[in-house]
């Protein structure tokens, strides 16, 4: 290779973490494979998703090349803008399918809640880093407020899935920042005590989802239909699956949202237990790599941010597979890298870009 080309290639790839990138590519390959089946060989869907993947990889590359200290400077402004956008959504947002999630900014419509998946842990990590030397209980309180404001705004849109994910990411920051076990236990107890209150705030369809989770067979044609059909799909796959493109639940349209939130049911039906374990292994590999990067991160900010990104990624995978197999309520959480759709893919790749950036810039900070 020509030295100039080599230099160019090096400068383009030097911040990309090969291990993580390999895992991402493997997961994306699974995503394409499943989508081909789930979309009934729809070329439009598949090419559309390939486009999304390309964009997401570009974003990943971009963020891999942004040094963490630069991100740190952006943390507060991004957070403030995000919250303002959420307030704007609450006031002027467009209602689509009963939820007010979108904001029309003239050229296009944006979904600020998606953006907050990164902005919230970023801001919280920045906050803890700033007060690293003098951490008090009050600081955790402030950070918790930083979390609660956007979550409350998103939950009332309503967008339960995103709210859950952001809550999880925020909680991971608090947890990794060393929030006292006593407080965690206390909060857990208080939370359990507050359940009736939460129940009264939930929308009917959210309550229904929770009730159906407890017993999906109670309402097999109504609210429990999705869960029941996806459980049938998963279970009927058996050990080896029915084979790619051969899932009857998939191709006869019994699986709801089969290219997006329930795509795992398609995968499980066609690839069986072995496929599921392989996929689980890929996720575990990605998480492990994320944890490794987190553990080796040079600053509190980087550690908290990377930890939150990694654990949020885990939450995506766990909640999605949990809901498809009927052990968690149906909340709108996509299966990372596999579900059809660009938004979640971009935000996950963005997070992975940050992980890579932190990893490649670790020595820079240390010196």
């Amino acid at each position: 290779m020509h030295p100039a080309a080599r230099r160019l290639a090096h400068s383009l790839t030097r911040n990309i973490d090969g291990t993580l990138f390999g895992i991402v590519l493997a997961l994306l390959a699974v995503g394409v494979l499943v989508l081909v089946s789930a979309s009934n060989l729809s070329a439009m869907r598949v090419t559309g998703q390939l486009g999304n993947m390309l964009i997401a990889l570009c974003v990943m590359w971009l963020f891999a090349n942004i040094p963490p200290h630069f991100l740190m400077r952006l943390a507060l402004p991004l957070y403030v803008v995000g919250v303002l956008l959420l307030v704007a959504v609450a006031l002027f947002g467009d209602v689509i399918q009963g939820a007010r999630r979108w904001l029309d900014i003239g050229i296009t419509r944006i979904q600020p809640s998606e953006f907050m998946k990164i902005a919230v842990p970023l801001a919280m990590a920045w906050y803890f880093d700033r007060h690293e030397k003098t951490l008090r209980l009050a600081n955790y309180g402030v950070a918790a407020v930083m979390l609660v404001i956007p979550v409350a705004l998103i939950a009332r849109q309503p967008d339960l899935g995103t709210a859950v994910l952001i809550t999880a990411s925020g909680f991971f920051v608090l947890f990794l920042a060393g929030l006292s076990w006593r407080v965690i236990t206390g909060a857990a107890v208080a939370g359990a005590a507050a359940l009736p209150l939460v129940w009264s705030v939930l929308r009917d369809y959210q309550r229904q989802r929770i009730l159906t989770l407890l017993d999906p067979s109670q309402d097999p044609l109504g609210a429990g239909y999705h869960t029941l059909q996806s459980m049938i799909a998963v279970g009927s796959g058996g050990l080896f699956g029915k084979g790619w493109l051969n899932g009857s639940q998939t191709h006869l349209d019994f699986i709801p949202e089969r290219t997006t939130d329930f795509v795992f049911a398609v995968f499980a039906e066609e690839f069986g237990l072995l496929g599921c374990l392989a996929l689980l292994f890929l996720y575990l590999a990605a998480i492990s790599r994320g944890m490794f990067i987190t553990a080796n991160a040079p600053s509190l900010f980087a550690r908290l941010l990377c930890g939150a990104i990694t654990l949020t990624f885990f939450t995506y995978a766990f909640v999605n597979m949990g809901m498809v197999t009927g052990i968690l309520p149906v909340v709108g959480v996509p299966l990372p890298f596999v579900s059809y759709g660009g938004t979640a893919l971009v935000s996950i790749c963005l997070g992975f870009g940050i992980l890579m950036s932190v990893y490649s810039h670790r020595k820079l900070v240390q010196t």
Partner: protein, 637 residues
């Protein structure tokens, strides 16, 4: 670990050990990693549970999801007359059907559909009625018999109408319309009560997919034969229940055909012969009990009922003073009038109360208990023997006879002819009529019998009330020499495929103990009626020998000392005209009972009508198109 955490946020310690800090973090990260592993272990367990432990069960469920067992409705058997003329058959047509539970605003939907295909007000009314009646899921037809153009037009805009579909369906059609409305009956959509009944009889499975069931007449009576056996198709379906492909198929077995004793042409001629009059006619083959004609006039168009009748037509039929929905031949009961006299004469001979030669003097009335029973002929018939009593229809002769016999002897004798008993004909809804007796009156009115009530029984009035079918059955017994057969509409069941016919054998109910010579006397007199008696004019120049008896049934009572003047009486209160007959008299092939409502004397309306159908049946003579009988009457009287 909790203590360390406490330490780390203790404000008292200002300076922090970076290493300790990092250690704390790594502990937390390890805890998180543990959580991740635990969660994935949980998922693995769940996968194992679903995909290994419950695999068999869930696989079966997936297959059940995938495969729908779709009933394949059999073709309903057709109904044919004795010569193979179709009385009920099926034709295939496209219907526009709506799934009401998938449509929010039905009225608006139909308005919009009306811009694509023609939807008449009648279609709308019928749809509304269907909607009220069924209340079940599934589809209901808005329009039937779509034209090709309409199908194409709807197909082009189909996307605008979720919950609306076009289906090819078999429709029942009754080409003979009102002529056979009462006897063939009709089918209609299965209602909730019938669903329950099918369940109770264990027939639900065979009616899966069937929308129609026989409601009246033969369609009802022979439902099981006509319906056939429902087939089953295993179809792969998607979640919307739309078939993707057929996996297996057990073909339905079509219903078998009914071949009737009825003669469609005879029936039609008889029906038309009534002109504008109401009434009923039953013609029976005396040798078998096979029913040759079974007319109730007016009829109605049974095709209106097939897909649910609309409210307007229903109200019209249901409230019409002519009562077209009543099967007069089966369920209408009338006093037999003088057609009762031949049986009275037989009773007199059987009980030894009269000899054929014994005469009475008929002064034109019979006094009993200070009450004058008048003869229909003022001044009477003079000296009357049994022959003359029938030929000229003397009332006085039978007033006296009834008095001599007594009510219970009359009742006992008449019962053998089937008077006052359901004949058991093969359609439902038969009236039993009233054969009066002391016991009957006690049961019915809780009153004893007054001897004076016996008198008018002798001339077929009083409590006497029989169906035209019973009258026909009775005269058939005289015609065949004393055997009562069950009247039978169906002569054979025809296999839908092989066309092999399984004959329905004549069912003999009983053999009457009538003396040959007694019968001969009465039969001689019945021939006399048509030759030189009350029906002589109607049967003038008939090339065959026939036997008959006229009758006139009073609709209202005439007070003592009053005279019945037809023109003064409201039409619906005028006398019914009756006639019973059989022919040829020496070897009877057909026995007939006719009642023409409010048409006056038997000789005037019922006898000429009978002549027409005998002429057709025996000679193949088709009468010229009927003039309006009423106009004819007006000019002659």
């Amino acid at each position: 670990m909790a203590m360390r955490s406490e330490l780390s946020i203790n404000p008292g310690i200002e300076l922090r050990n970076a290493q300790l800090e990092l250690h704390h973090f790594q502990v937390r990260l390890a805890v998180a990693a543990g959580l991740v592993l635990l969660s994935f272990l949980l998922l693995t367990g769940r996968f194992f549970y679903l995909q290994v432990v419950r695999h068999g069960e869930l696989y079966t469920l997936a297959e059940a999801n995938r495969i729908a067992v779709v009933p394949v409705v059999p073709n309903r058997g057709v109904i044919l007359d004795r010569n193979g003329v179709l009385l009920a058959h099926n034709f295939s047509a496209y219907t526009l059907e709506v799934q009401p539970d998938r449509v929010a605003n039905l009225e608006r939907l139909i308005d919009e559909l009306a811009t694509v295909v023609e939807i008449t007000p009648r279609d709308r009314r019928r749809f509304r009625r269907l909607l009220e009646e069924t209340k079940s899921v599934g589809t209901l037809p808005v329009r039937t018999r779509l034209s090709d153009v309409e199908i194409a037009r709807f197909a082009a805009v189909r996307y605008r109408f979720p919950g609306v579909e076009i289906n090819a369906r078999l429709f029942r059609h009754y080409p003979q319309g009102e002529v056979f409305s009462h006897v063939v009956g009709h089918i209609g959509r299965i209602n909730p009560r019938e669903v329950e009944q099918l369940q109770a009889e264990g027939l639900s499975a065979n009616y899966r997919g069937t929308d129609y069931i026989g409601k009246t007449g033969l369609e009802h009576q022979y439902e099981r034969i006509l319906h056939g056996t429902t087939g089953v198709e295993e179809v792969e379906v998607d979640s919307g229940g739309r078939p993707v492909r057929t996996l297996s198929r057990a073909s339905p077995v079509s219903g078998n055909n009914l071949v009737l004793n009825l003669d469609a042409r005879l029936q039609e001629i008889a029906y038309n012969a009534f002109g504008d009059y109401k009434g009923a006619l039953v013609a029976i083959d005396p040798a078998t009990g096979g029913v040759l004609a079974f007319v109730s006039k007016p009829g109605f168009d049974p095709n209106l009922f097939v897909d649910g009748i609309d409210a307007l037509n229903w109200n019209e039929l249901n409230t019409s003073p002519d009562k077209p929905l009543v099967n007069r031949a089966l369920a209408g009961t009338y006093p037999p009038g003088s057609t009762f006299k031949p049986y009275m004469a037989l009773a007199a001979l059987a009980y030894g109360k009269r000899t054929p030669q014994q005469t009475i003097n008929d002064p034109g009335y019979f006094m009993f208990g200070g009450h004058q029973f008048r003869d229909s002929r003022p001044g009477g018939h003079g000296v009357v023997d049994m022959y003359k009593s029938i030929v000229k229809s003397s009332d006085t002769y039978y007033y006296m006879l009834a008095n001599d016999l007594g009510i219970d002897a009359i009742a006992r004798f008449m019962a053998q002819f089937g008077f006052g008993t359901a004949t058991g004909i093969d359609i439902a809804g038969e009236a039993t009529g009233v054969l009066p007796s002391q016991e009957w009156k006690m049961r019915r009115f809780n009153q004893r019998w007054f001897p004076g009530e016996t008198i008018s029984i002798g001339i077929g009035q009083g409590y006497n009330a029989y169906t035209p079918l019973q009258l026909a059955q009775a005269v058939a017994i005289i015609a065949n020499g004393g055997t009562a057969y069950r009247p039978q509409l169906v002569s054979a069941v025809e296999d839908h495929r092989t066309r092999e016919r399984a004959a329905v054998d004549p069912r003999q109910l009983r053999a009457l103990n009538l003396k040959r010579e007694h019968l001969a006397v009465v039969r001689e007199a019945l021939i006399g009626v048509n030759k030189e008696g009350t029906a002589a004019r109607s049967f003038a120049n008939a090339p065959y020998l026939s036997a008959g008896k006229t009758g006139t049934a009073q609709v209202i009572g005439i007070k003592q000392g009053e005279k019945y003047v037809e023109s003064r009486v409201l039409e619906e209160h005028r006398d019914h005209s009756l006639f019973i007959a059989y022919a040829p008299a020496d070897n009877p092939r057909i026995a007939v009972a006719v009642i023409v409502e409010n048409a006056g004397f038997g000789a005037r309306a019922a006898a000429p009508l009978t002549r027409k159908i005998l002429d057709y049946y025996l000679l193949g003579k088709v009468p010229p198109p009927v003039r309006r009988v009423k106009d004819d009457d007006a000019s002659s009287s």
